[in-house]
């Protein structure tokens, strides 16, 4: 019997709920031990622009969903990620140093992270908001509202856990995201699109790009229809690019300083509602009280 040829997967972008090829037609090859394991898109500025259009369109629907429903959907993402755990472990083990054991630990932590924020979805408002004591016949509430369209620049490592660690708190509070995944290890980002597509995440709420920071960072920061930026694992120079671009329309810039990839596993820091706080706006309401 002849030897079977394995089928290599060609991953595309995840954009507006669909899997389009990059508008630029460019691709990159992911290799493991000198052998190609997958083909990926190398996203262009126009892909990013299209992603922002899709995200903006999805924002009103996603933020209007009940907190409980957003929690359910994040939990569904965790379920689907768990179901594809083996695929993620293989992909990470093949391309990221540290072997299978490290990869499995990362995937499990990513699932747990999603579950944490699925739980936070209908609880963060109680922590970040409050009823303010005021003089007079009024109730006075401060309530967190989503900031809007958030661009996420994920760290190179850990490729999956870092991305999920930034994405989950952003989605949890009703924001929508355009993500540039790990540049060094982009495979996990590409597979994550399949998780989003099968877990009731409405089209456009999560948009995943694989590509090069050098080409995309400036637009990630400067695009005027973006409301906030979440970045991790960026150099001082890249941070400067982000902050200069953000000045264009006074975006929020939140850079996570994480000393080592291992730190992302820390639950006390990364499963905390403080991460949600960076991407909400506080609205204060006066309401007449009865009697």
């Amino acid at each position: 019997m002849s030897e079977r040829l394995p089928v290599l997967k060609t991953y595309k972008l995840y954009l507006g709920g669909a899997f389009p090829r990059t508008e630029s037609g460019r691709s990159q090859v992911v290799e493991s031990a000198g052998q190609p394991v997958a083909h990926l898109c190398r996203a262009s500025r126009k892909d990013f622009r299209n992603a922002v259009v899709a995200a903006r369109k999805a924002l009103s629907g996603w933020s209007a969903r009940s907190a409980y429903n957003r929690g359910q959907i994040l939990y569904r993402m965790a379920e689907m990620l768990e179901g594809k755990a083996t695929e993620f472990v293989q992909a990470l083990a093949a391309t990221v140093p540290g072997g299978e054991e490290r990869a499995r630990r990362e995937v499990e932590a990513a699932v747990d992270r999603l579950v944490s924020f699925a739980g936070w979805a209908d609880k963060y408002a109680q922590v970040l908001g409050c009823q303010n004591p005021v003089e007079g016949p009024y109730h006075n509430f401060s309530l967190p509202e989503p900031t809007g369209v958030v661009t996420i620049v994920a760290p190179d490592e850990p490729a999956l856990l870092g991305l999920i660690g930034q994405l989950a708190p952003v989605l949890c509070s009703g924001n929508v995201a355009v993500v540039l995944g790990s540049e060094a290890h982009p495979l996990a980002t590409a597979i994550l699109g399949e998780v989003c597509a099968t877990s009731d995440v409405p089209a456009g709420v999560v948009n995943l790009l694989t590509g090069f920071r050098e080409e995309l960072l400036e637009q990630f920061a400067a695009h005027r229809d973006v409301d906030a930026i979440s970045a991790a694992g960026v150099s001082a120079e890249e941070r400067r690019t982000l902050e200069l671009g953000a000045a264009e329309n006074l975006k929020r810039v939140h850079v996570l300083e994480v000393a080592a990839a291992e730190d992302w596993f820390e639950e006390a820091r990364f499963a905390s509602p403080e991460l949600i706080e960076s991407f909400v706006e506080i609205k204060t309401l006066w309401h007449p009280s009865a009697s």
């Binding site: 622009r49 400067a222 005027r224 229809d225």
Partner: protein, 293 residues
């Protein structure tokens, strides 16, 4: 009159081929400015108010305050009730006022009422009249009636330009689109126009190509240049540039002018302005940077 038939598959394939041209940098900038200058900025809704029409006119005259080199649009297109106001709002700017008439969008009213509507909008000062043909009559085979109605409308227009809306989305076949185009041009149309924007599908590249070829053949036979206006459904700047490519490669440079080619659109202009701003500043605009009308 020679009856021409259209090979639908070939027409669609040829129309699709115009999407493959790459237009960058300087050519793109020129193209986008041309698109702005060819736009009939349109509002045709039951909720149109004087305030909305005034706002639209302001945008028509100066679409992009702050970006250099962006021309005014070709015309504002409104319902008959708003013609006088629009005329006043764009006075002195060179922007034309177009009015739909003849019981737009259905055309289902007695001919004398439709003609009276045309006379009224012309008296109110409209520069261009967008009429609809009787699709029902055409589909029933009463082509002579359709031709006579167009002729009568042209007469009622006086010096105003007449655009004839075929409503291609209701004509079923490309053969009939071609037949209606030939009919309208012979009956005195200054422009032929695809759609009202109220019926889907509105303008498509295939149907526009069929009409452009009818215009080309009419020009070859008579030497008269008829204008073309695709309307409805063209939403992105990129798509608009594809249309310009199609016009250039079908009819030549003479038609790349607001006097012979128009886009009937409302949201297209915003996307073009976002692109022009991007070319001007290097930064993509926010949703709040352009008015939504």
């Amino acid at each position: 009159m020679l009856r021409r038939t259209v090979d639908r598959v070939a027409a669609d394939a040829r129309a699709a081929s115009f999407r493959t041209r790459s237009i960058k940098k300087d050519a793109k900038l020129q193209g986008l400015r041309l698109v702005v200058s060819m736009t009939d900025l349109t509002t045709l809704e039951g909720k149109d108010s004087p305030g909305k029409v005034r706002g639209l006119c302001r945008k028509a005259v100066d679409p992009a305050p702050g970006i250099e080199g962006v021309p005014s649009v070709a015309a504002v297109c409104v319902y008959p009730n708003h013609v006088a106001l629009a005329k006043q709002a764009v006075a002195g700017s060179g922007v034309q006022v177009a009015s739909v008439a003849t019981a737009f969008p259905s055309g289902q009213a007695p001919l004398d009422l439709r003609l009276e509507e045309v006379r009224r909008v012309v008296a109110d000062g409209t520069d261009e009249v967008d009429m609809v043909i009787s699709r029902g009559a055409l589909l029933a085979g009463r082509t002579q009636q359709v031709a006579e109605e167009i002729r009568a409308t042209k007469e009622a227009c006086g010096s105003a330009h007449l655009k004839v809306i075929l409503e291609t989305g209701e004509l079923e076949t490309y053969d009939l689109v071609r037949r209606a185009s030939d009919l309208a041009m012979e009956a005195g149309a200054d422009f032929i126009k695809t759609s009202t924007g109220k019926v889907a599908p509105a303008a498509t590249m295939g149907v526009t190509l069929v009409m452009l070829e009818a215009i080309r053949d009419h020009h070859r036979a008579t030497g008269v240049r008829i204008g073309m206006k695709p309307a409805g459904g063209i939403k992105s700047a990129k798509e608009a540039l594809h249309y310009l490519v199609m016009v250039k490669e079908t009819l030549g440079d003479a038609w790349l002018s607001p006097s012979l080619f128009r886009f009937g659109a409302s949201s297209l202009l915003n996307d073009v302005l976002i692109q022009l701003r991007r070319l001007d500043t290097g930064v993509y605009a926010a949703h709040y940077d352009v008015s939504k009308e």
